[in-house]
């Protein structure tokens, strides 16, 4: 049992425990969950400390670390060839930081759900199930395994949103589920296609192994996704481009990109605070991760043809999301749209296909992971107290809840890209990388960088405006006095969650090397893998 398996399946243990314990021991559930998550976090920290920065990951197995590879399903399907599915885990510079992030955000989520009272048994077991799926996604190197974790993740979320969510939760839950499933079902078809096109050089069997899929030599000539003499076309789109597009859409729904984003505001707004934290902190990252790990690495040739459009979509998402955020009256909705905007940077950075751009994108994912989680948590703080999120119902909170305002201000400025915080490094390098792209000649044009930077300006404007509307000025609440009594300043628990998060954001902003050192080799390898098709 390797470390990664341990990391993945610890939560399952928690689920089992929680399900087995009788309802009389209701109080213990959260402690079990917390304990397991802490262990996970420690484990991920250990992985981080043991990680060898030189390993270049992506497309050769010796570039991965903590690798576990066991044959899982071996079948002779006759004319369908040898079915070969491995239990294949490993991390490289792309997945490692995300693993740590997930572990941390999970910890936050548990902390945020401390006061959940409604059927805690189901709640925490589902949360742990989700935890397992997420960890699995970031570790899996076999496409079949990846897909399984990817789908398993949906289910707990459906229930977490649907049962513990807000007023309109049923709609939000099913919408989220359908959206993602729509993407992933077609992804399945592509996976099948790849399975037929790729041969494991050792055994000669068809394989789901992603690393084999990244090596052009493993493709069968004339197969559907073959590099050589491949004449397949669907609706006039060459097969490989089609595969890229379908996979991209599947993951883009997760990021999410405009116009496939409409599940996100609903899901975030209806979901309970911890789930919004997980959604924003981890699930959106899966989209970006998928695009890097799957789309770019398996279809590099298509990627270099399509990256201009990727960049365009990224820019559109940035501006569109920011503009939407500007017009929101519900604080949570505003932050949800800001996520759309900030994740647009990820896509833009990836599209740039430069080392700076991709590193920036990855960094942006991390920073957004911390910051959006913190933001949603902060929204939760006032929502827990007065069950209202409307910006115009609050005024002059700064005098009433100074500490809370302090946290909000820091979080806001951090996420509007104030230097010294992580978001700045991410966005700045996405923009620099995108700008560089034209010099390198990856086909992303410079105006995109400029348009992206306008997004930064917009984000500043909506966040500052919110700050002004809600926190400054004379104190005045819709609820009047009783609100004033309800709105107590942040509790010790809330502080203990918020402080480390924002500190991390700050730390990453000051010492980006903590992350960049881990990912540089991998990113360079990825860039070289992709740019050879330019």
């Amino acid at each position: 049992m390797g470390l990664l398996s341990l990391l993945i399946f610890l939560p399952l243990l928690a689920t089992a425990l929680i399900l087995l314990l009788p309802a009389t021991m209701r109080q213990s559930y959260k402690y079990i969950a917390l304990g397991i998550t802490v262990v996970q976090f420690a484990l991920s920290g250990w992985l981080y400390s043991q990680f060898d920065n030189a390993a270049s990951g992506i497309n050769q197995i010796n570039g991965f670390q903590f690798v576990e590879q066991l044959p899982w399903i071996r079948l002779d399907l006759g004319s369908l060839g040898q079915l070969e599915i491995d239990y294949f885990l490993g991390v490289d510079g792309v997945s490692l930081p995300l693993l740590v992030l997930s572990a941390f955000v999970m910890l936050m989520a548990i902390g945020a759900s401390w006061n959940v009272t409604k059927s805690t048994k189901g709640y925490f077991s589902l949360l742990m199930l989700l935890n397992m799926a997420v960890m699995g996604i970031f570790c899996a190197l076999d496409f079949f395994l990846f897909y399984i974790f990817y789908e398993v993740m949906l289910l707990p979320l459906y229930f977490l949103i649907g049962i513990w969510g807000g007023v309109n939760r049923e709609y939000a839950a099913i919408k989220f589920f359908i959206y993602t499933l729509f993407g992933s079902v077609f992804m399945l078809l592509i996976i099948v296609g790849l399975y037929f096109s790729v041969i494991n050089p050792e055994t000669g069997a068809n394989t789901f192994n992603m690393l084999h899929m990244m090596n052009p030599n493993n493709y069968v000539d004339g197969s559907f996704f073959a590099y050589l003499n491949n004449y397949y076309e669907v609706l006039g789109i060459p097969a490989r481009m089609l595969g890229f597009i379908v996979l991209f859409i599947a993951f883009a729904i997760k990021i999410p990109i405009v116009p496939l984003h409409t599940w996100l505001p609903d899901a975030h707004v209806e979901a309970p605070t911890p789930v919004s934290i997980i959604l924003a902190g981890i699930l959106l990252k899966i989209g970006g991760y998928g695009i890097i790990r799957v789309c770019l690495s398996i279809f590099p040739d298509a990627a270099v043809d399509a990256n201009w459009w990727l960049g365009l979509i990224g820019v559109i998402s940035i501006l569109y999301g920011a503009l939407n955020a500007l017009a929101q009256k519900d604080l949570k909705r505003l932050i949800a749209y800001s996520s759309v905007s900030h994740m647009g940077f990820v896509l833009l950075g990836v599209a740039s296909l430069t080392a700076e751009g991709i590193s920036g994108a990855l960094f942006q994912m991390l920073s957004h992971g911390f910051l959006s989680a913190a933001l949603f948590f902060l929204v939760g703080v006032i929502y827990d107290r007065v069950h209202d999120r409307n910006i115009y119902n609050f005024r002059g909170l700064a005098t009433h809840m100074p500490a809370y305002t302090g946290f909000v201000a820091v979080a806001f400025f951090a996420s509007l890209g104030l230097p010294g915080f992580s978001a700045f490094i991410g966005e700045a390098f996405v923009i620099i990388g995108t700008f560089n792209a034209e010099s390198v000649g990856t086909g992303v044009s410079r105006w995109m960088a400029i348009a992206g930077s306008v997004g930064i300006l917009l984000s500043a404007s909506y966040l500052l405006w919110t700050l002004q509307r809600m926190f400054f000025g004379q104190t005045r609440f819709k609820g009047g006095e009783d609100w004033a009594t309800l709105l107590t300043d942040v509790s010790a628990r809330e502080r203990t969650i918020l402080f480390p998060t924002l500190t991390l954001a700050l730390l990453l902003g000051i010492m980006p090397s903590l992350v960049f050192d881990k990912m540089n080799a991998t990113v360079l390898n990825l860039v070289s893998l992709v740019t050879q098709y330019l």
Binding site: I73, L181, V185, F186, G193, F224
Partner: protein
Amino acid sequence: MQDINIQLPSILDQVIQSIPAFKAELALIFAFLGSILATLFLDKIWKQSSFVITIIGIVASLILSTQQLGAPQNGFFGMLIIDDFSVYARGIIQVALLICVIFIQQHFHHKKFSKNLGDVYSILLAAALGMNILTMTSNWLLAFIAIETVSISSYILVGYFSENKKQSEASMKYVLFGSVSAAVMLYGLSLIYGFTGNLDFTSFEHIQGLIEAPKILLSIALLFMFVGIGFKLSFVPFHMWAPDVYEGAPTPITTFLSTVPKIGALVLLARLFEEWTSTSFFFSELVLVLVSVAAIVTMLAGNLIALRQSNIKRMMAYSSIGHTGFLLMALVGNLASEPQVLLFYIAVYTIMNLAVFGLIDILEQKTGSAQLENYQGLGKQFPILFSILTLLGISLVGLPPTAGFVGKLFVFTSIFDLFQFNNNRYYLILLVVGALTSVISLFYYFKIPLFAFLRKGNEIKILPTTSTQIVYITAILLGVSTLVLGIFPSILLSLFR
């Protein structure tokens, strides 16, 4: 007269030699007779005797049929083909039947009837016999007889109790629709016989005759023939009876109808399909197109209509129609692959449906209704039951990590292989529709957890029910098995080799 005298001994020899090939079915026949006798005499002494005899018969035939594994042979002048495919198919049928019998026994044995429950068992055995034959024959005469045996016994099963209006209505619709389609099929067969002068659809003359046959009449004949099979498999447009009958019939009977008879018909169609699409002539193409189109339309119609159902039995009826479409797709895929893919999907489908209907049966007994609204908030009272139902829903949609997903994956795989082999657009459409409909199906399968878990329900009183444990446990085991098979499909797949 003379020639008969000359032939007679040899014919008898043949028959006698063929008996061993028929022993599994013989077991059923004896069990059939036994249960009738038991119903007449023993049941007065021991109520369960006929039930026990039935169980024994089924198990016996299961064992006997498994002995034929790996020993392909044929008997009765090539009317029976005993190959592994048929053995596996019969294995699935027997197991499914076994479970159905248990469900039926559990459902009815405590109720007071004017009628005797024993007859039901004997009828079931008759149906089983018919299905067994269906899986082994390549001869139209036997096929027709088998189909009719199955049909007639199903009619009786549906109508036998007729406790209420709905059951009698269901049975009437079933019998009339069934007989009409049987008649139409018979007419089609007569024409085919006319073209070929031979009743064995695998034989050379038969195919030769079909090749030479006039296009128009041939297409009429084929369509008519498909009416009969379509009725049994209930694919569009021959599905109209299914929802009404499924809803009307007692739930255990529905369980039986929605699973077992389909298997037999499917195996027959598979054999037919494989033989007839092998040539490059008009009728091969015709058969291929017919089946593909049927599959596409069935998947779409079944899933779309299911969206608007409020009665869970009716919803499952449409879902099984949709799945029939998918089974047809698997059947098309069967061209590319070993039968194990098809068998795997059939098995998984059977398991899922048995489990779902078993749970529905329990719910019906506990709440006295099959309306989804009445299940609001029941998730709190029956957490396990509804969790298993949800799991089955996932499996029916085809999401990992369940057997339904693996089945879907294999079917897609085989179809994709065909598509890659010859760039035929039908295969692509099949793939896309198959994917799309599984998204659509999510909507209605998730109505169950939606009502059970997400909605707040007003406390509804639970009817006092006598023991449902056995059904409950069986269903749960089946449900869990979908999960296990989802993670380790090789357990089942390696069985089918």
